[in-house]
Symmetry: C2
C-alpha cells in the first residue's frame, strides 16, 4: 500500500520523539530517512526505523547525544557523535563543514562515534543551497572481501558527491563501492532468485549466482567484480572511504566496524569509537564565480545528455536523474511500504505507546 | 635493454633543458616522468617524452610557463598552468596546496591550462613527507563512453590518494576509473591479442574482445564494465574527476579535452583552457595527532595483509605494494626500455643537438 510521504515522515519523527530525541533531532532524522524512501533507496529508509530503535533499547545508540568538536583547524574538524543517530550526526557534521567553508573556502569533518547515517547522497546535498559542493562517505560493517581474499574486511562504503548546476538539476552521485547495493542482494534472496556472477563470492572465494552465498559466510565483491575487470580498484575505493571515515576520525575501521543490526553483537575488541563518516564542502566561489561555474555545469550536463545512445529506449543519464524521477513520482503518488515493514512499525507504535488517534499511520 | 634510472632521468632532464625549460622545471619534470618508469607505469614514463617535445614544437605546450594563481581563499586556489608541462604544473599545484594546509589544515588547488601530468600517484605522494594526505586527479582526452552511450565523452580520469603510515609503507592508490588502463589495451593491440570482454565496446556499443575496437571508433568502458556490474558507478567516478579538474578550474571538460598526441588536433571550439587537474592535501594533525593516526594506519595495513587468501600463491595486497616492488627491482636492475622508444629518443637527441659525449644514453 502507498502512503503519503508527509504522513510517513511524521510517523518517523514521532517515533524518535517517543524514544526521547529532541524535536530538532527527531526532525533531522526523519528528513534524512524519508529522503531515502523518496529517492528509491528503500533499504535505507523507514525499513530501518525499527533497527535504530532496537539499538537504542540495547543502549548501543544514544538519542540525546552531546555532539561536540574534539579538534579543529580553520578548514577541518573532528566531530564526536556521542553514539548518536548517524542520520543526525552527519547533518551536524555537514553544518560544521559549511560554516568552515564560508570562511576558509572549504570545510572537512571526520566523524567518530556515530551510527548508520542513511543515504550518503542526502547529506552531500545539504551543501547545494549554499552554492557549495558536498562530499560524503561512511564506513559500514564488513561485508566486502578485498581482491584475492575470502574475508569480509570492508563495508559497502559509499561515496556521494553533490554538485550544483544552474538551470539543470544538480549532479548527484551516491554509490556503494561494490557492483550492487546489499539491498538488491536481499531482494533476490527473499525471492529465492539467482544473482549475476560478479556480485558475491562463496565462503571459499568462488564467484557465485547463489543469492544466499552472502548469508552463508560468503562476501560481496568490490566494484570491478574480479581482478581482470578492476576489482582491485573497487577495493581501493572502499579502503579510501574506510580510512578517511575512521582512521582520520578515531572510529572503528575494517573488520572492527560494529553491525547495524541489533541481533549481531559488536566485535569484542575495538580500535576506535562507533562507526565513522567523512564529509566535505567546497564553496564554488572559492574557485570561480558561482554563475560561471553553474553555466558550465549546465553545458556539461546537456552535453552528456546528448551523448548518442546505444539503444534508443535507454538514454544516457546524469547521476541523480533516476533518484529525482522516483522522488517526483513518490511525492505525487505516495511511498509503497512492504507489509513486513508495516507490521514492524505497528509493533514499534505499540512498544512506544503511540496511539492511532495521534498518527493515522501505520495504524 | 636495461638502463640505470639515474642515467635515464638525466637524459629526460637534458631534453627539457635543451627545449628551453629552466633547471628547476627540467628537474621536476624528470622526477615525475622517471617515477612512472620506476613504478611500472611504462606508458606514462620516458615513452611519452617525445610526445611532450612534439607538442612543444607545435606550440601547444609551453616549457617556460608563467604559473600563477588566479583566485584563492585560505584553503583553495586556482592555478593557471600557462600551457606548461603538466608534470611540472601539478607539482607546483601540490606545493601551493601543502602551503595552504600548513595554515588552514587543508589545501585544494584546481588547475587549468595544463597538460598531461604523468602518473597521478607521484603528485599525491608529494604530501607524504609533510605528514599530510595527498589527493590528485586529472581529466584526459575522451576515450570512455558513459553507460548506455556509444560516444567517447570522458578520459580514463585517474584518482590517486596517498596516505602516510608509521612503520608500514604508505597506502597509495592510483587508479584509472576504467577496468584497465589504456596502456594494457595498447600492449594487446601491438601483439594482436584479444582482450577480456568488459574493457571496451565497438563503435556500435557492443562489448568486444577485439583489441583494435578502440582504434576503430569504439570506446573504453567505465569501471564496472556493464550496468549489471556497476558501470554507472565508473561513469560517476570519471565524471566527478572531470568536473573537479575542469569545471571548477576553467579547463576543457568532456569531449573538449585536447589530445596529448600531436598528430591529433585539439577540438576546434573550446569551453576552457587546456586540460585540468585537481589536487588536495590534508594535514593529518588537522584531525588527530600524526603518531596516533600512523599507528592506526599500521594496524589497518597489517590487518588487511593478514586477510585470508583464496589462493595461497596470491596474498592480499595493500594499494601501492605492487608499484613499490617494481620500483625496488628497477632501482636495482635498471629500467627496460622498448627498442622503439630508444629509436625515438635517439631521434630526439639529434633534433635537440644533444651529443653522445654529454649523455651516454641512449646514444
Amino acid at each position: 500500500m502507498r502512503y503519503k510521504a508527509a504522513i510517513v515522515q511524521n510517523f518517523i519523527k514521532q517515533i524518535f520523539l517517543a524514544s526521547g530525541a529532541s524535536d530538532n533531532h527527531a526532525t533531522l532524522a526523519s528528513n534524512a530517512l524519508i529522503s531515502a524512501d523518496l529517492r528509491g533507496v528503500d533499504s535505507h529508509g523507514i525499513a530501518r526505523l525499527s533497527g535504530y530503535i532496537r539499538l537504542w533499547k540495547q543502549k548501543r545508540l544514544n538519542v540525546t547525544p552531546n555532539l561536540h568538536i574534539v579538534h579543529e583547524t580553520p578548514s577541518t574538524a573532528v566531530l564526536d557523535g556521542d553514539l548518536g543517530v548517524g542520520l543526525v550526526v552527519a547533518q551536524e557534521a555537514m553544518k560544521i563543514a559549511i560554516d568552515k567553508a564560508k570562511i576558509a573556502g572549504t570545510g572537512w569533518v571526520a566523524v567518530k562515534n556515530s551510527n548508520h547515517f542513511g543515504i550518503a547522497g542526502y547529506h552531500a546535498m545539504q551543501a547545494l543551497p549554499h552554492d557549495m559542493i558536498g562530499i560524503c562517505m561512511t564506513n559500514a560493517s564488513p561485508l566486502v572481501a578485498p581482491t584475492f581474499s575470502k574475508d569480509r574486511m570492508l563495508g559497502t562504503n559509499p561515496i556521494a558527491v553533490a554538485i550544483p548546476a544552474g538551470e539543470e538539476p544538480p549532479f548527484i552521485m551516491d554509490m556503494a563501492t561494490t557492483p550492487a547495493a546489499n539491498g538488491k542482494l536481499e531482494v533476490n534472496e527473499r525471492l529465492g532468485k539467482p544473482i549475476p556472477e560478479g556480485w558475491t563470492q562463496t565462503s571459499n572465494g568462488k564467484t557465485t549466482t547463489d543469492s544466499r552465498a552472502l548469508k552463508e559466510g560468503g562476501a560481496m565483491l568490490p566494484l570491478g567484480s574480479d581482478r581482470t575487470h578492476g576489482s582491485h580498484k573497487g577495493y581501493c575505493l572502499g579502503s579510501w572511504v574506510d580510512i578517511f571515515s575512521a582512521v582520520l576520525s578515531g572510529a572503528n575501521y575494517g573488520p572492527w566496524v560494529p553491525p547495524f543490526v541489533s541481533f549481531l553483537s559488536p566485535p569484542p575488541d575495538t580500535v576506535g569509537e562507533g562507526i565513522g563518516h567523512f564529509v566535505g564542502v567546497m564553496r564554488i566561489d572559492a574557485f570561480r564565480p558561482a554563475d560561471e561555474f553553474k553555466s558550465h555545469m549546465d553545458n556539461w550536463i546537456r552535453t552528456f545528455r546528448k551523448a548518442q545512445s546505444i539503444d534508443n529506449n535507454q538514454k544516457v543519464e546524469i547521476p541523480g536523474d533516476q533518484e529525482r524521477r522516483i522522488e517526483q513520482e513518490r511525492l505525487a503518488n505516495g511511498i509503497d511500504i512492504h507489509p513486513t515493514v508495516i507490521e514492524e512499525l505497528k509493533q514499534l507504535s505499540k512498544e512506544l505507546k503511540i496511539t492511532s488517534s495521534k498518527m493515522g499511520f501505520p495504524i
